[in-house]
């Protein structure tokens, strides 16, 4: 079917259908089927888990203040970093970017009244906090200790909590899969009239590249986890070599999911950046099509490189080269994106708001993480630094310097659409600079710690590394303070922040054309789209939005 045919048109269809507004606190704010409320629920839940996982991170750094540890026992330490990793990946970054900002923003940006399956949406949200609690409750019965990757056979020896971990991650997977299905259908079927693929905002493109990954890759992980669970609980041999199983099988199945998962965690952040940059440069994004299609290319290629996590796992040598070269190749579309973002700044009228600072910080830090990623993709060098702190530094530059910075940019940019108010800019700038300094202080030294021979997953380490570890730990406390500032800012601004009005930033995508926070039905009338949103010198490419900011009732409200 053609792109056009996939879109809605007016005349008695979904485009003009408005559900009656749900009444009562529970139906509105707890078991709500409104994508905006669900998005906010996701974001809040994810931040709560972020606090817990962040405390675990500070525990890790405190343990590493001294070469011989001593803050917590090695057992506890192993549990702490395992849960820290799992929680940050599955309970914070992925839900925040897909379920959270995805739900909150992209239906608005494509001019829809809700996602395709609101009830499914509610279901997949409510699975998520349950799974999160299960994950953290594994502490009570002895949490998993083998890191977020839980390689067998050592994870087969792990404490009972490991089974709980597997079950929890399985549930998160179900939630993501449902979200993925929901988003794909919404994106294919519920775009406003005239919103062709090449007119979609880039955040939508980010979600569009991510949703299929959520839908497909996560299921592969579900299988691996189910097998691990069965082997641990019922003794069904899949991974145990003494029963004919293969430990390497887990690594294949796990990374076949977890490499796409890396893109699940970064592509939506790319999208956020690609919205923030043009808005605050008052300038079209540079090379719209390149950015959009490179997202798709990265998502696709993400399925073909998983074994680059397994260069030292006894993988057949002839398999190493294709995976190495394919991984190098992914650097190309990523590099193109970075160049395009940088070029977007050139000749703009740049407003250095907090969101913009975070966007620029994102490019700076993510580029560093990307370059070290190329290092690790080169087999000969990976054979050296694999499993060392160099790897830790690399993926924290990508996930904290990349995804988390993107999330912060999104928080400052779209906070009006959640609360109707602006976050405080002064606190925001303090937050940015302390975070930026603290982040680099924490993770930059890890590069040379790894190269000089400090392995991952260690509760104690060689005294020669003590200085830089202390440096990193102290800097991590600075990061902690920055996060504190952020939460103070949020809590304060929800009540006392400056009223935002519909469009505080001069944005041109559809979500800025309607009041903040939007009505439950989003649009009084579904607009018709005539072009890309980013032409600042043009009149807005939308029709049918005249009444949005007046108090006329919505068209066809209460129909059906």
């Amino acid at each position: 079917m053609s792109t056009q045919a996939a879109q809605l048109t007016h005349g008695g269809g979904i485009a003009d259908h408005i559900h009656p507004e749900p009444q009562g606190f529970v139906r509105r704010y707890v078991f709500s089927i409104d994508h905006k409320i669900i998005g906010i629920q996701y974001i809040i839940t994810a931040w709560v888990f972020f606090i817990l996982a962040g405390l675990l991170a500070e525990t890790i750094r405190t343990q590493l203040l001294n070469a011989n540890g001593g803050f917590v026992s090695p057992e506890t330490y192993n549990e702490v970093y395992s849960i820290h990793g799992s929680a940050m990946v599955w309970l914070v970054v992925i839900p925040m970017l897909t379920g959270g900002f995805g739900n909150l923003i992209f239906p608005l940006q494509i001019g829809a009244r809700d996602v395709a399956f609101p009830w499914l949406n509610m279901l997949s949200f409510w699975i998520f906090p349950v799974a999160g609690l299960m994950l953290f409750s594994s502490f009570l019965m002895g949490a998993p200790t083998a890191g977020w990757t839980e390689y067998p056979p050592v994870s087969l020896q792990g404490a009972p909590g490991t089974s709980m971990w597997a079950a929890a991650i399985f549930l998160v997977g179900v939630s993501s899969t449902l979200t993925g299905i929901n988003f794909v259908v919404t994106l294919l079927k519920m775009r406003a009239p005239g919103m062709t693929f090449t007119r979609m905002p880039l955040f939508v493109w980010g979600q569009f590249a991510t949703a299929p990954l959520l839908m497909i890759a996560t299921t592969a992980l579900a299988a691996a986890l189910a097998a691990l669970f069965m082997e641990r609980v019922f003794g069904v041999p899949f991974y145990d070599p003494t029963k004919g199983g293969s430990p390497v099988l887990w690594q294949h199945m796990f990374w076949f999911y977890s490499h796409p998962a890396v893109y699940i965690m970064i592509l939506p952040a790319f999208g956020i950046i690609s919205e923030v940059l043009p808005t605050f440069s008052r300038k079209p994004i540079f090379g719209y099509k390149l950015i959009a299609f490179s997202s798709a290319a990265i998502a696709l290629a993400g399925f073909m490189v998983w074994a680059h996590h397994m260069f030292t796992s006894g993988l057949a040598p002839y398999l190493q080269l294709p995976f190495m070269i394919l991984t190098f190749a992914i650097g190309v579309p990523t590099g193109i994106k970075i160049f395009s973002w940088t070029a977007t700044l050139w000749g703009g009228k740049i407003h250095l708001t907090t969101a913009m600072l975070f966007a620029i910080g994102f490019i700076a830090l993510f580029t560093c993480g990307g370059i070290t990623g190329i290092f690790l993709a080169a087999v000969p060098y990976d054979l050296d630094v694999h499993g060392t702190y160099f790897v830790v530094a690399h993926f924290h530059y990508v996930l904290v310097g990349g995804s988390l910075m993107g999330i912060f940019a999104g928080m400052y940019y779209w906070f009006p659409k959640m609360s109707g108010r602006l976050l405080n800019e002064t606190l925001g700038k303090i937050h940015f600079w302390t975070f930026f300094v603290g982040f680099n202080g924490t993770f930059l030294p890890m590069h040379w710690l790894g190269v000089e021979g400090m392995p991952r997953w260690v509760a104690t380490y060689d005294p020669q590394f003590e200085f830089w570890n202390r440096f990193a730990s102290v800097s991590s406390y600075v990061m902690g303070i920055a996060i504190l500032v952020f939460f103070v800012n949020v809590v304060w601004s929800v009540r006392n922040g400056k009223k935002a009005g519909p469009n505080p930033w001069g944005g041109r995508t559809l979500e800025w054309m309607i009041p903040s926070p939007p009505h439950y039905y989003n649009f009084k009338q579904i607009p018709t789209v005539y072009g890309l949103p980013y032409d600042f010198s043009h009149p807005l490419p939308y029709k049918g939005l005249e009444d949005e900011l007046t108090d006329t009732p919505p068209v066809a409200a209460g129909a059906h």
Binding site: G244, P247, I325
Partner: protein, 364 residues
């Protein structure tokens, strides 16, 4: 959007000055990585370690240069094009959508770089993979939580230090008795996992005498952090031979984890190979392939176990004798390469054992 094409898109003097500055900084970065004395911080103990360093210098230099430019332009643009107080509130930037020529070039340049990097890495990869096979064969076995080492003609497992002669090619067979560990010597810039039920091999040639730390880099249990106590000693030939002979004498009495045969030796006379073959299919082939030693299922492959002198022996330096095999079949085996149940568990009569040995004799 046609009217925007008309807009003058001119790069100002500031841009070129900044570009020049960044070029200087980038060049400085490149020079830095090529003069940086890596080996002062981490000696290159084996031949290929220097190639890995070459690769590292290459990637670090190009990466730094690239990063300097991205970061520099980022900061410069952000400052140079920020809104001034003088700007009207609705001021907009230059409405440039794209620039095909520019995009073409910055798509092509990374592609070329990727090709170049692939060529470099593949060449170095070959040098690592194609290290000579002749020379000394050592087996390193990962345990929770240490490594042990087996040498030809030395009984038992050496668990404190791993000795190697300098300038002699080494074939290191890695395996594990419990979970996945990873054998890493930072000074060798080389690591590989020790996977239970699998034998992985790395080859290298030590080029510097000295003592180097062996570190486990794959989480293997609660004391993983402690699994870095072993030392790799690279020493000259005479010192190595002295140590080697010393170990042979010291471990002469070590029984190689092979318990004394209960109930005296089994008479292997009258063993029938065909009967043994059927038996092998039923009782043994679940764990043992009829293939080379490396072809692991659970236990090692048994092809040529009694003939091939190059077969990594089950027990010690001497090629396994029928009596050894009979003992193992009778009393079972517990050691670094795994665990094998004894005759009672396997339900083997002495005649069965005789048949099996007779069959194994036929595997040449």
């Amino acid at each position: 959007m046609v009217e925007h094409r008309a807009q003058p898109v001119r790069l100002g003097r500031g841009f070129w000055m900044v570009t020049a500055l960044l070029a200087v900084l980038g060049a400085a970065g490149i020079v830095f990585w090529y003069v940086f004395p890596l080996e002062q911080y981490l000696p290159a103990a084996i031949v290929t370690a220097r190639q890995v360093d070459t690769l590292f210098r290459f990637m670090a230099a190009t990466g730094t240069a690239l990063y300097v430019f991205v970061l520099g332009y980022l900061v410069y643009f952000a400052l140079a094009f920020r809104v001034r107080a003088s700007d009207p509130p609705d001021a907009i930037g230059l409405q440039i959508h794209d620039n095909p020529k520019l995009e073409f070039w910055w798509a092509i340049i990374p592609v070329l770089f990727v090709i170049l990097l692939s060529v470099v890495s593949v060449r170095i990869w070959y040098e690592i993979m194609l290290e000579p096979e002749n020379g000394i064969v050592v087996q390193a076995i990962g345990h929770q939580f240490d490594f042990t080492f087996r040498y030809p003609q030395i009984n038992g497992e050496i668990s404190d230090e791993m000795h190697l002669p300098v300038n002699v090619p080494v074939t290191l067979n890695l395996t594990s008795s419990d979970v996945i560990h990873s054998f890493w010597v930072p000074a060798m810039r080389l690591k590989n996992d020790t996977v239970p039920g699998l034998v992985t091999t790395i080859r290298f040639t030590p080029r510097l005498t000295g003592r180097y730390q062996i570190i486990c880099t794959q989480f293997c249990g609660v004391l993983h952090s402690q699994m870095n106590k072993q030392v790799l000693v690279v020493e000259d030939k005479t010192a190595f031979n002295a140590w080697y002979r010393g170990m042979q004498i010291k471990n002469a009495h070590v029984s190689n984890a092979l318990p004394a045969a209960g109930g005296g030796a089994i008479s292997l006379a009258g063993g029938s190979a065909p009967a043994g073959q059927t038996l092998f299919q039923q009782k043994c082939s679940a764990c043992h392939a009829i293939g080379p030693f490396d072809q692991r299922i659970v236990g090692p492959g048994l092809k040529g176990v009694l003939h091939d002198p190059a077969h990594p022996n089950l027990v010690n330096g001497d090629p396994a004798t029928p009596a050894d095999v009979a003992k193992i079949l009778q009393t079972g085996y517990t050691g670094s390469i795994g665990t094998m149940p004894n005759a009672t568990t396997n339900g083997l009569s002495t005649q069965d054992i005789a048949n099996l040995v007779a069959y194994l004799e036929t595997l040449k």
